[in-house]
């Protein structure tokens, strides 16, 4: 009934969809298996993509020819560039999407790909022979043969949903949990753990008093995620901001004794940066209010997502408390928030390619690795899909370095340090933040996609080259072009910058903190003329390159220094046990995790700088 697939992807969430697309676009024959074809690419939590650090990841996915950015661009109801008041590395695109359109667009893009087949059924096990994965087994007893498998099970593995004292099996509200895979993996020698996450209530927008809340509109000139020619939204929906109060907190506290968080029923560790509302008022008792973001679920629905009110308190407590929020007095609830516990596999059991150490050609991506977030999941799916394809072709794995992308930071952190709580990306996790900007993900990563032979990368590279050429040309002109005091002193005075008294190159003017390229464009006709031929993104790149040249160069120097360690390779069969001078913990961890380079070894927790010195001594440096 089935051919032997190159890659079977189990699960069709953000990770699974990107994995399927990446492998298919590299030429693999892919089977995407999901329990329910109607829930492909669900936004299980809030209907938004991007945000600080996450927006950069979406752009990186796009630069590597993934689809998350394209799908978001086509389905967004609001776009905002966060952190615009900060430097360019902090600019972070974020979009609210229409939840239903988002899923539909993903499905149609997948269906448009002839290399992707679908199967709707629960996958209950893997076929593993001699330590190599050979396919999957379905609930009705079918075996689908494959050369590699990517598991992206999300919160479904032995998922248990908690609402107050009620608890029941489920992978998502209204969907059943998946069983069998954890048990088999543990039998194969994998270590598994439990994590917890939560989601807030969905409510009826028709029952809210919008005037009682602050409006948070989208950007006047909305941007987008994809570097391809996707559209920007013609119209947008606003979000709203509401606040909890002491009264709300008091009501919430009445449910604490029935909270599965506090009475110990939930044992999985939840994310500290995405706490439930009960967690917030418990841990930060001195705060008299917390912010709630009231987000629309789409163009054609009144369903509302109450961001900031994640809760597993009993539904009546959630209801009563929410009704105390200003603007929510007549609130009607569609469904209460809940907490969900699920199995994950500590990601230190993975190679940097996301292949498992224990079973060859078996890859993990997404929440199964202990992460949280669509963007984190999607990017892992993309890398796992690429590497599953490469593994089948018996080629070297594809690795994004920490200095090349947040995706590199994410995976490197996961496999080397592991995680105890659901892992979310922050810009502070990246040591080369100034280099990893949302505006240059294409410059950083699209050349790598082209090298991989990813479908569509040639066209993307043309734009990358045009962008680089444009930035270089603009910079060259501004370095050559001088202005008279009379041409710029008006502008300088207006911006509070000291005037000049002789001819100065424009480049020098632009370096002043108060002066932007837009200012020059407005004040100096030659600049306006120069820039008129280029799209804004190209001009922005030129400006960033010039204005922050010193910072960029300094970070690049640090990258070059670090990369020397990244280039010292360690053989997978290296016998660490023989190195008595390594600490016991280092010996044990290095033997188990088999880092590919000294650089990677240096980031394994428990491996000290002294251990690295020992390794360097042994590899002859």
């Amino acid at each position: 009934m089935f051919p032997t697939y190159d890659v079977i992807v189990v699960g069709a969430g953000h990770a699974g969809c990107e994995a399927a697309v990446a492998a298919a676009n590299m030429g693999s024959k892919v089977m995407l298996a999901t329990m329910n074809m109607n829930t492909i690419a669900q936004m299980s939590c809030n209907p938004a993509m991007g945000g600080v650090a996450k927006g950069q990841i979406v752009r990186e996915i796009d630069a590597l020819c993934g689809y998350s950015g394209i799908v978001t661009d086509h389905t967004m109801v609001q776009f905002r560039m966060l952190n615009r008041s900060k430097g360019p590395a902090m600019w972070s695109p974020r979009a609210q999407s229409d939840r239903m359109q988002f899923a539909a667009r993903w499905r149609s893009m997948l269906e448009a790909n002839p290399n992707i087949d679908f199967w709707q059924e629960m996958i209950v096990g893997l076929v593993v022979k001699d330590g190599i994965v050979k396919g999957v087994r379905t609930g009705i007893g079918l075996e689908i043969p494959a050369r590699s498998v990517v598991l992206t099970n999300g919160t479904f593995l032995n998922g248990v949903i908690h609402i107050g004292e009620k608890q029941f099996g489920g992978g998502r509200a209204g969907e059943r949990a998946a069983t069998g895979i954890t048990e088999q993996l543990v039998e194969l020698g994998f270590e598994s753990g439990r994590m917890k996450t939560g989601t807030p209530p969905r409510i009826d927008g028709r029952s809210l008093d919008w005037d009682a809340m602050e409006v948070q509109p989208g950007d006047e000139v909305p941007g987008k995620f994809s570097y391809t020619d996707t559209p920007t939204p013609k119209r947008q929906l606003p979000c709203h901001i509401a606040y909890t109060s002491q009264e709300v907190h008091d009501i919430l506290r009445t449910g604490f004794d029935r909270s599965p968080m506090f009475n110990g029923r939930i044992r999985g560790l939840g994310p500290r940066y995405c706490p439930s509302i009960e967690d917030k008022i418990d841990r930060f008792a001195d705060r008299d209010r917390h912010q709630l973001f009231v987000e629309p679920e789409g163009w054609d629905t009144c369903e509302i997502y109450v961001n900031g009110f994640s809760s597993s308190l009993p539904e009546d407590v959630q209801y009563k408390a929410l009704r105390q929020v200003r603007g929510f007095e007549n609130m009607k609830m569609f469904r209460p928030g809940y907490a969900i516990e699920y199995d994950f596999f500590p990601p230190t059991q993975l190679k940097i390619s996301l292949e498992t150490h224990l079973v060859k050609n078996l890859f993990f991506a997404g929440q199964i690795n202990g992460t949280t977030g669509y963007e984190e999941a999607g990017s892992q799916g993309l890398i796992a899909g690429i590497n599953a394809h490469l593994a089948v072709q018996e080629e070297e794995p594809f690795v994004v370095r920490r200095s090349e992308g947040y995706i590199g930071v994410l995976i490197d952190d996961l496999v080397n340090k592991g995680t105890k709580e659901p892992y979310r990306m922050f810009t502070s996790r990246a040591e080369y933040r100034i280099l990893l900007r949302q505006d240059n993900a294409d410059l950083r990563l699209t050349p790598l996609a082209q090298k991989l032979g990813m479908a569509g990368s040639d066209e993307r590279m043309q734009r990358v080259e045009a962008k680089n050429d444009a930035a270089e040309h603009i910079e060259k002109v501004l370095r050559d072009l001088s202005v008279e005091p009379g041409q710029v002193n008006g502008l300088l005075e207006e911006k509070g910058s000291s005037p000049i008294n002789q001819k100065v190159k424009l480049h020098g003017i632009l370096l002043r903190p108060q002066i932007s390229m837009e200012d020059l464009r407005t004040a100096i006709p030659q600049v306006a003329e120069l820039l008129s031929g280029y799209e804004q993104e190209f001009v922005d790149l030129a400006e960033t390159n010039m204005k922050y040249e010193g910072y960029i160069r300094r970070e690049q120097e640090m990258v070059d220094k670090m990369n020397r360690l990244e280039e010292v390779h360690l053989h997978e069969d290296f016998n660490y046990q023989q190195l008595a001078s390594l600490s016991k913990e280092a010996r044990e961890k290095l033997s188990r995790m088999k880092p590919r380079t000294i650089g990677q070894a240096s980031r394994i927790s428990g491996v000290s700088p002294a251990d690295i010195s020992v390794l360097l001594v042994h590899v002859g440096r």
Binding site: N46, G51, V52, A53, L82, N83, S85, K86, G87, A89, M90, P271, R272, Y273, C274, P275, K280, R283, F284, R287, H290, Q291, F293, N307, G308, S310, K417, F426, T427, S428, R429, A430, E431, R433, I434, P513, Y548, Y551, R554, E555, A580, S581, S583, K584, S608, P609, A610, D611, S613, V614, V617, H618
Partner: protein, 467 residues
């Protein structure tokens, strides 16, 4: 130091006490076979069965069961030893013959003679001490004065690590605030108050500055203060050196120009080391050898921190003294003027040589002596001692004495200046954060890295964030 892969797995042996005849000698072995090797020549108790940190009395026998010495054997079983490996310390009688015999025996049984610093290197490689501690141990071994010893001990107990750790914690808090702004800008969080940040950065800079300033003293204590004795031929330079040292070291004669080469001696004044260089006299040299000597003198003065200028109160005119000093004094040298042969003209006054009109000499130290009689030499010593100590920050404060620490602190200081400049220019906080991270990483070179997990952990524990 380059050690091959093989080296690190060897068992090494060395005399741990200073060479020479003492009451006892301690021979230390470290490495996987340390206990086995000693056990093989230590009849009686089976050392392999003994617990760590125990002392055993017995005899060590060489070839043909010949008793070499009665010894005490102390066992330290890995990893709870100085090096983190198995360590055995053999205390024997302090005769060179016995010590040589024992070391030869251990080498025959499979140990290898340790290279300089190898015990410490192993301790470092096995994670038994951090880098700054390891460096302090190396200093301790090399320390040859009491104060230097104290300084090394202080670093070993974590003195500098602790002070830096405190600074670093403040900086982490600071960095967390900025990171909070960057990663959670969308949320209802308090923002870092720029005024408070500035106060904090300046405070940290002041502390770093104090440590940096202590470097001169720290270095002086460790290395010895380079001190040069200069003066015209026959002014009594060598006699003065001998008076200071209480020994006949330089060749002293009445013939001018006897001291052709520079001679270096170490003078210990209350624990502060002075590396004193006696020089050929300054004059318009007649022959080539002397010309070279004079040039050497000037070069030595340029390299020194302290200058003792000696002149003969009978033969040298005030103008000549001032000419010499103008030639010798440079910005980094602390000059002490010593008027010698005061017995020949007891009425010599400072004002004769340095009238108020010559304002540039107003702050000079003036010490009248009679070198030949050692008259007023204790006062000269006091002046020299105070000259070094005047740099001192305070008696209980941490002193840094290590060039690597100095460099790291200086870079941290510069990065913090960048932070302040950035704030002045209203550069956005992501760039400020970059400079803070750099400062943190330089401080980390002394005490260990700060991971982003440290920052995030700090954020999560202090602030309510997350939607």
């Amino acid at each position: 130091m380059a050690y091959s892969a093989l080296d690190l797995r060897d068992t090494i042996v060395a005399l741990a006490t200073p060479p020479g005849v003492g009451a006892i000698g301690v021979i230390r072995l470290s490495g996987p076979k340390a206990i086995e090797i000693v056990n093989g020549v230590f009849p009686g108790k089976d050392l392999l069965q003994q617990k760590s940190h125990t002392v055993h009395f017995g005899t060590i026998r060489g070839e043909g069961e010949r008793i070499i010495d009665e010894v005490l054997v102390t066992l330290f079983v890995a990893p709870t030893s100085y090096t983190g490996e198995n360590v055995v310390e053999v205390s024997c009688h302090g005769s060179n013959y016995i010590i040589q015999e024992l070391i030869r025996l251990f080498i025959k049984k499979g140990a290898r003679l340790a290279q300089a610093g190898e015990f410490t290197l192993r301790a470092f490689l096995n994670g038994r001490m951090d880098l700054s501690q390891a460096e302090a141990v190396a200093d301790l071994i090399a320390s040859d004065s009491e104060r230097s010893h104290d300084l090394a001990l202080q670093q070993m107990r974590g003195g500098i690590s602790q002070e830096i750790a405190e600074l670093r914690q403040q900086l982490i808090d600071f960095a967390s605030l900025i990171e909070l702004e960057l990663d959670f800008a969308e949320e209802d969080v308090e923002f870092a108050n720029r005024g408070e940040l500035r106060v904090l950065v300046e405070k940290i800079q002041r502390l770093i500055r104090q440590l940096l300033d202590s470097f001169r003293l720290g270095n002086a204590i460790k290395q010895g203060v380079t001190t040069v004795i200069a003066g015209r031929p026959n002014a009594g330079k060598s006699t003065l050196l001998n008076a200071l040292l209480n020994e006949e070291r330089a060749i002293v004669s009445e013939i001018a120009g006897t001291t052709r080469d520079t001679i270096e001696e170490v003078l210990n004044i209350d624990g502060v080391l002075f590396r004193i260089v006696d020089t050929a006299g300054i004059r318009d040299a007649q022959d080539q050898i002397e010309a070279i000597g004079v040039e050497k003198t000037l070069e030595k003065v340029r390299q020194s921190s302290l200058l003792i200028y000696v002149f003969d109160v009978i033969r040298t005119s005030p103008e000549e003294v001032r000419t010499d000093l103008d030639r010798l004094i440079h910005s980094n040298v602390y000059p002490v003027v010593v008027a010698n042969k005061m017995d020949l003209n007891p009425y010599t006054k400072r004002e004769h040589y340095f009238p108020a009109s010559e304002a540039r000499f107003a702050d000079l130290q003036w010490v009248p002596i009679v070198a030949k009689e050692s008259m007023n030499i204790p006062h000269l010593k006091e002046v020299l001692y105070q000259a070094v100590l005047s740099e001192k920050v305070g008696s209980d404060e941490t002193i840094i004495s290590n060039a690597r620490h100095f460099e790291a602190l200086e870079k941290a200081y510069t990065s913090l200046t960048d932070v302040l400049n950035g704030m002045n220019q209203q550069i956005t906080s992501d760039f400020i954060a970059m400079d803070i991270r750099r400062a943190l990483s330089y401080l980390g070179e002394i005490t260990g890295e700060v991971s982003t997990d440290d920052l995030l952990g700090n954020i999560f524990s202090r602030f309510c964030i997350g939607k």
